[in-house]
């Protein structure tokens, strides 16, 4: 009786297990609906106008357009790989977010596998050794040995300090000696220049012109964090704030720029005048000064209309 029960429990277990394995092997990936398939392809594409979002995750017009294109091509019966290849033709290889298995990108695939194999090997080797060398006398554990003397701790602290100082030094050095090399390699600026507020201003402008004032605002803020008195960043940020209706903040930002002569004085005057107008303050003198300084500015015509209609 006991014997039979002992027998049939494993038998049933093996049968169920076999059924489960069969179910896994026989199961066909169900063909998902079109929307899911579009989503899967969209997930592997980078939204070209966003900060690190995929086409599936982004709500920008260009991402919507790309989803429309994917939908159309999948409906036409093209395979996901063909769709991706089409996008690579249009946007370059880095539009696809799955790294290739060639060149340096192989590292991305090889490293996890390598760590897995190495780690597994270490576990196996160290586990086995225990069974063979249990009786072997071993040296006293060093990690649990004596304490370090104060002098050695001091040495470690000095090493810390030197290593910490090395990084700023590494950043500072190329900006002095390596400028020419950096220029010759395709016009990229040197390391310290790359850090500069100018780049953030440039980025802010390009974002502004692409209709992304939020991104632009962030870029200007970064520039200001690095150089609080950067006229270009102040004016740019003020312009974005003005558009969002933060009139007094905008006014505060541009006031120092609007005074002295400088490249950004006309634009600052424009922002200042518009902010004053929004707050119901006298604005005509400011805008007239703007017109005197920059009669050919793209916004000049509008400003003239504004002054006339007053």
């Amino acid at each position: 009786m006991v014997v039979t029960r002992r027998l049939w429990v494993p038998v049933v277990a093996v049968l169920v297990a076999a059924a489960a394995v069969a179910a896994i092997v026989l199961t066909h990936e169900p063909t998902p609906p079109l929307s899911t398939r579009v989503d899967r392809v969209a997930k592997t594409l980078r939204c070209p106008a966003c900060n690190g979002e995929s086409v599936a995750a982004s709500d920008t017009p260009i991402a919507r357009s790309m989803r429309a294109e994917i939908t159309h091509q999948l409906k036409d019966g093209r395979s996901p790989d063909q769709v991706r290849a089409w996008f690579v033709d249009r946007y370059g290889a880095d539009i696809v977010t799955t790294p290739s298995s060639r060149g340096p990108e192989l590292l991305l695939w090889a490293l996890p596998i390598g760590v897995l194999v190495l780690g597994g090997a270490v576990v196996l080797v160290r586990s086995r050794r225990r069974t063979t060398s249990a009786g072997e006398p071993t040296a006293p554990a060093a990690a649990s040995g004596g304490a370090l003397s104060g002098r050695r701790v001091l040495v470690a602290v000095v090493v810390c300090a030197v290593a910490g100082a090395a990084v700023p030094a590494a950043v500072a050095l190329p900006s002095r000696g390596g400028t020419d090399a950096a220029r010759s390699s395709g016009g990229t600026a040197s390391t310290s220049d790359r850090l500069g507020p100018q780049d953030w201003v440039r980025l802010g402008r390009s974002l502004d012109s692409r209709g992304d004032p939020t991104g632009a605002e962030q870029a200007y803020r970064r520039a200001l964090a690095l150089a609080p008195n950067n006229d270009a960043a102040r004016t740019g940020l003020a312009f974005d704030l003005l558009r969002r209706g933060h009139l007094s903040a905008a006014e505060w930002l541009v006031r120092p720029v609007a005074g002295p002569a400088g490249r950004y004085r006309p634009l600052a005057l424009l922002v200042l005048g518009l902010a004053q107008r929004g707050r119901g303050e006298p604005f005509a003198p400011t805008l007239r000064r703007f017109l005197r300084l920059a009669p050919d500015h793209p916004a000049a015509a509008q400003v003239r209309r504004l002054l006339r209609s007053r």
Binding site: I62, R64, S65, I95, R194, D208, G211
Partner: protein, 178 residues
């Protein structure tokens, strides 16, 4: 006298340190590097097809004619595009005598708003191909609006400008590729 055991440990510590130093050095180099918002795909290659109906109801097909073509992608909901339209209309009129054409693609836009914008800017003469779902813009590799692509007389893509253009940029491109 280094025992093999210690050698192994020293080696692994050294490898770890080297890796860490490498990563830190890379990060130090990368400080402030910001992905440029531009891409070089399509440059030097045959321009994608551009055909469709235009805002004024006719149809348009882009064919190489031996003259330069400027393709501008815009939409009425985009503020820099609105600012850019008068400049484009003037440039289109000025370049016509040189045979240079300026074609625009009105992407993901309501035709009413787009027509109103063109008539406000006195730019009804601009050719504006309608692209309701944005597929034309995507097939031209646009990353946003406004964006301008320069196609030479043989139908090869020569340059691309992300963001609003200036008259100087347009002139320099026309001089360079005509």
């Amino acid at each position: 006298m280094i025992r093999p055991r210690h050698l192994f440990r020293l080696l692994s510590v050294a490898t770890g340190v080297l890796l860490a130093v490498g990563v830190l050095a890379g990060l130090t180099l990368s400080l402030g590097v910001h992905g440029e918002n531009t891409h070089r795909a399509l440059l030097g290659e045959r321009a994608p097809a551009l055909r469709g109906s235009t805002l004024d109801g006719s149809s348009y097909v882009l064919r190489p004619t031996g003259h330069l073509t400027l393709v501008n992608i815009w939409a009425a909901w985009c503020a820099p595009c609105r600012d850019e339209i008068p400049l484009l209309a003037r440039a289109a009129a000025d370049y016509r005598s040189q045979g240079v054409r300026l074609v625009t693609v009105d992407t993901r836009d309501g035709p009413v708003a787009a027509r109103a914008l063109l008539s406000d800017a006195n730019a009804q003469d601009l050719v504006a191909v309608v692209d309701p779902h944005g597929r034309l813009a995507v097939s031209w590799g646009a990353t946003g609006v406004p964006e301008t692509v320069v196609v030479d007389g043989q139908g090869i893509v020569r340059a691309r400008r992300i963001g609003a253009v200036s008259r100087e940029w347009l002139d320099s491109q026309v001089r360079r590729w005509s």
